[in-house]
Symmetry: C2
Subunit: 628 residues, 2 copies
């Protein structure tokens, strides 16, 4: 949007302003919004191009091994990972608005794909990808981007940590070489402890551990502090950085070469290898519902399939959340357009499904790579996509050589750094309630599945917001005003926020209980109320009238006045300026008022909130002091 | 509470203030709160006593026929209605806090009882009453009274109209003499139209219609305008009022006498009569889970019984809602203590269940009677309870003479005036959205059951509140300040309410897009933010720093300062007074500031809300004027 403004401004200086018609402006704005490439391509220069090529290739070196690993996590053959890794890249170049996002298989999508299709064939995965794309389109069309605003950072953090832990534990099983059937994270973890003594120090174990150590060491390599004062040192630093960034690719190449060595010598490798992979590019075909046991599913049947149906709601929400979270983490300029991300993801998934893709979204780990590689525009995705296509065309015959332990190591080292320890310290200081939300979301995700945990976490935070409407802070102040001859004491009741139905009883109670002197309700913070509140305020006004006590509404908006009138309020005393208020309190005519000098003394002050419901009554002493 | 204050105040003037210990005060406060009789009995005088006797007896004359009718509605024998009508009255005298409430069977409770136990024996109804009482106690103990605050007037209105319509339609079947099986309101209504031509002009029909006409006529009787200038006219007016108020009792006596006439002459009455009724008071016994087909239920089994389990959550909530709604409608002084009402209802139902009661709560129709009879304290309930006990002791042998059509007429005329037409007009003027809530709740109640409709209605209104957190109004103002030599132009961004996670992106977007001049964020309306918002604001501050644009937080609270710091904000520019703000904008030292005269001009003003997301960009013309 920022960029858009700049471009439009340039245009406007060339042409005269009035030539541009209103609707032209609007169409262009729409196009800029929904096809972001039209916006940034105008400023694209050679330096951007170079930066994007470097970033794109670096990204590709992470994308390819990760895709293969994530396909294993999703429970499908390795080629599906690569099938998912190119179309999204190409489409996102055109429709994407966040340059750091790298569309493709992700840990989250793979985990959810596995959860929903573990007992189904890969055809279901492709159909799911298509339906997910359609739902994302509908979400974009109905502008449901705002839904993501309701997922707070503590919930995201707990959710993300939970997915990381689930993936690590699921991969540890393979690396430790223990065998058992399990369902869910908790069961997995328990059985892992029970079976820990059965750990076989086999080739898988040795390879897995070595790969993890290698990957973590390589990750740290780029952080070695080398001053860039000489050209040599500069080159060294850049080489180290490149080695570090392409560590996933390197480990896959190294371990595959070892496996190739064994195969070449006619021996069996001492570690498990990947299954044989179908060669070449995927065929282009419209996704059709799969046939199982001679029964071809209908689209409608899929929508009510007990295992399947939830996925097409859960996955789109989480995909959009992931993209927006990436944007929030990396973007420094401009703003995030969640609705546009929904459209972009939708096209990525729908077109991806024509090439046998599984559901895709932006990946956190790759976004960090993209950011560190100095990506300039989403065009970087083009190069990583091309790299994936090349890998599919030329490298698939060698994919069966990739050891499974290597893929597990790639997965573990990718997600272990997503465990969000850092959030605990600030939350401990700022708000223990929010820390509880993190822990609660984490535990629920681990115990009952990530999507349920996310949902419950959102519910808890939203309920907290709902609760806030019921317990506004209400300041009650006793104020003395003197003029030459008289003194008037009144209570000023000031709710800190709008008063809607959950809070109105509390406010009325405060006003009724505040004391036997005139009460002034300060309406600064609410320009209107709902019918329930209006009814209650009308009753309050009647009560005060019956009691013969003065009740003045201060700074009431004309809208609120009308609402009260329609809700049956017969007599409303209100003042809009200090002068009006004082003259009402002293019982003067307004005209007389201007002559008289007033002195305002602010007396006993107390802030009442839910915990301290009746401050003036808290103890007899205090009450008396308020009354005397 | 008001009364409490008054009493305490009197005490304080007698004793010296310091003699009363803090804890003594608190214990007394507790007792006054939870056993309200201890409070009002101190001021009870002869006039109160007389008023309560009159009101209590009048109330009894409505309570007895209504109880019999409501037991028919609940699908149990007539004696259960009376069994439910005395214990609650006695208990509420002690624990009740709303003088207009008359505990006993109500249309709402009967309807729900029928819904949950239509296929079960009356033993289940008694056990349900006990469990409902227990749940009400727990709700009171955990101070869940606030839950009722979330049920707004439009939802209550839709719900109440729906229950009235359901009851009327269910009773019309009996009066029209058509026979069909139906499930739910919609089905009932359709079949009623289909079978309308089968209407038999039998004795039931004639009697039912006559009774309805009689009851409506009698209801209007008390509204006849008679001046009270002579004693005769006064007596006439009071007689008419008494006749009108005891109309339910009268019609039952009259029609039963007709039936007795037929029986006495050895003929069969031309209309259906009530089944034979067990005579005398109910035995006192602890409610035990019922035995069905030689299987004695366990308490735990009841809690998971498919038909039964929902009732013990739904009925307590609705019972408390009913009592609070009555309080809101009739009370003119003091405030409503929903938690205490939960305790009172709990004791009424638990003790009631020892005497075979069905679930009870306060009834709207009877409260109107109590109010019109000039009730002074809950003691009136004692007299209506005694009247019910007398009826049970002496009149049960004659109960079989009451014609069923009379009971239907009593029910219909009781609920027909609960249909809330009046709310439509003000809501049409004030808020169409709230009118939609009424209609939506009504339709959902009629289509899917009243408790589901209530739940959905609450959800809709609460979601609307949640949505409000995401779309705060944000004022953006461009302000020019001059001093002798310089001019500074800045944008003042002022969110109208607290900024929590759903709104923070919107606020940040507004600030980022507001323009290239210094931006001042007015934090008047938020004293603190949550972690998500703090994180986003920190990013915002960093973005402005990177852009080299000034961003000043105005009137920031120390708490908010700390939160931002802990959330990772490194540099925060803030001002707490106009002086500080202006000197920051002009780049002066604070010390220099006091000498310089300033002139403030408020420039272009616009209010941005969700519908008008980018006001400065709305059209090129407008944007330019804002930029130049």
């Amino acid at each position: 949007m920022e960029v858009e403004t700049a471009v439009l401004q340039k245009k406007n200086t060339n042409e005269t302003q009035k030539e541009e018609k209103y609707w032209q402006y609007h169409i262009r704005k729409r196009i800029y919004r929904h096809v972001p490439i039209t916006l940034w391509i105008q400023r694209y220069n050679k330096m951007d191009g170079l930066a994007d090529v470097i970033a794109g290739v670096t990204l590709g070196l992470t994308l390819i091994p990760q895709s293969i690993a994530y396909s294993a996590l999703a429970g499908v053959s390795p080629q599906y990972g690569l099938y998912s890794a190119f179309m999204g890249c190409f489409v996102y170049v055109i429709f994407g608005s966040i340059k750091e996002v790298s569309i493709g298989p992700t840990s989250l999508m793979s985990l959810l794909t596995y959860e929903y299709t573990r007992n189904l064939t890969p055809d279901f995965v492709v159909v799911m990808c298509f339906l997910v794309g359609c739902v994302e389109f509908l979400m974009g069309f109905f502008r449901l981007g705002f839904l993501v605003d309701y997922i707070s950072v503590p919930v995201t953090s707990g959710f993300q940590t939970a997915t990381s832990l689930i993936i690590i534990v699921s991969q540890m099983k393979g690396i430790l070489g223990v065998k058992f059937h399990s369902s869910g994270f908790m069961d997995n973890l328990c059985k892992l402890f029970i079976h820990a003594n059965e750990t076989k120090f086999s080739g898988d174990f040795a390879l897995g551990i070595s790969c993890i150590i290698f990957l973590i060491f390589m990750r740290k390599l780029k952080d070695i502090p080398i001053s860039e004062d000489t050209t040599k040192k500069k080159v060294l630093k850049h080489t180290l950085w490149l080695l570090s960034t392409s560590r996933n690719f390197l480990i896959v190449v190294i371990t595959s070469t070892i496996a190739f060595g064994f195969e070449y010598n006619g021996k069996e490798a001492p570690f498990a290898l990947t299954k044989n992979v179908r060669s070449g590019l995927p065929p282009f075909q419209f996704p059709t519902p799969p046939t199982v046991d001679n029964h071809t599913y209908m689209w409608t049947e899929l929508l009510i399939h007990p295992e399947f149906r939830n996925s097409i709601v859960v996955i789109p929400v989480i995909a959009v959340l992931a993209n927006v979270a990436i944007a929030k983490a990396f973007t420094t300029e401009g703003t995030i357009d969640a609705t546009q991300e929904m459209f972009a993801l939708s096209f990525c998934n729908i077109l991806g499904s024509f090439f046998q893709s599984m559901p895709t979204c932006g990946a956190f780990t790759r976004s960090a790579v993209a950011n560190a590689s100095g990506v300039r525009t989403p065009l970087a995705g083009l190069y990583s996509g091309i790299l994936t296509v090349l890998a599919l065309t030329f490298l698939t015959p060698y994919f069966h050589l990739i050891p499974r332990a290597t893929l597990s190591a790639v997965l573990i080292t990718a997600v272990v750094f997503l465990i969000d320890w850092e959030i605990c310290k600030p939350l401990w200081t700022i708000s223990k309630k929010e820390l509880f939300v993190v822990v609660f979301t984490l535990i629920t995700c681990l115990s009952f599945g990530v999507e349920f945990g996310l949902f419950v976490g959102v519910c808890v935070t939203v309920l907290n917001l709902v609760f806030k409407w019921a317990r506004p802070e209400i300041d009650i102040e006793t104020i003395l005003i003197h003029n030459n001859s008289n003194t008037v004491e009144y209570n000023l009741v000031r709710p800190s926020m709008s008063v809607y139905f959950p809070a109105v009883d509390l406010v009325c109670n405060k006003v009724i209980k505040s004391a036997a002197r005139p009460v002034v309700v300060d309406c600064h913070h609410f320009s209107n109320v709902d019918y329930t509140a209006a009814k209650a305020l009308s009753t309050l006004i009647r009560t005060f009238k019956d009691r013969g006590q003065t009740l003045i509404f201060f700074h009431i908006s004309p809208k609120l006045c009308r609402t009260l009138q329609h809700a049956g309020c017969e007599s409303l005393v209100h003042a809009n300026t200090d002068g009006e208020l004082y003259s009402l309190l002293f019982g003067y005519d307004l005209a007389d008022f201007s002559d008289k000098p007033f002195q305002v003394l602010r007396g006993i002050e107390c802030i009442a909130n839910s915990k301290d419901a009746v401050p003036l009554l808290k103890s007899p002493q205090r009450r008396m002091s308020a009354l005397e």
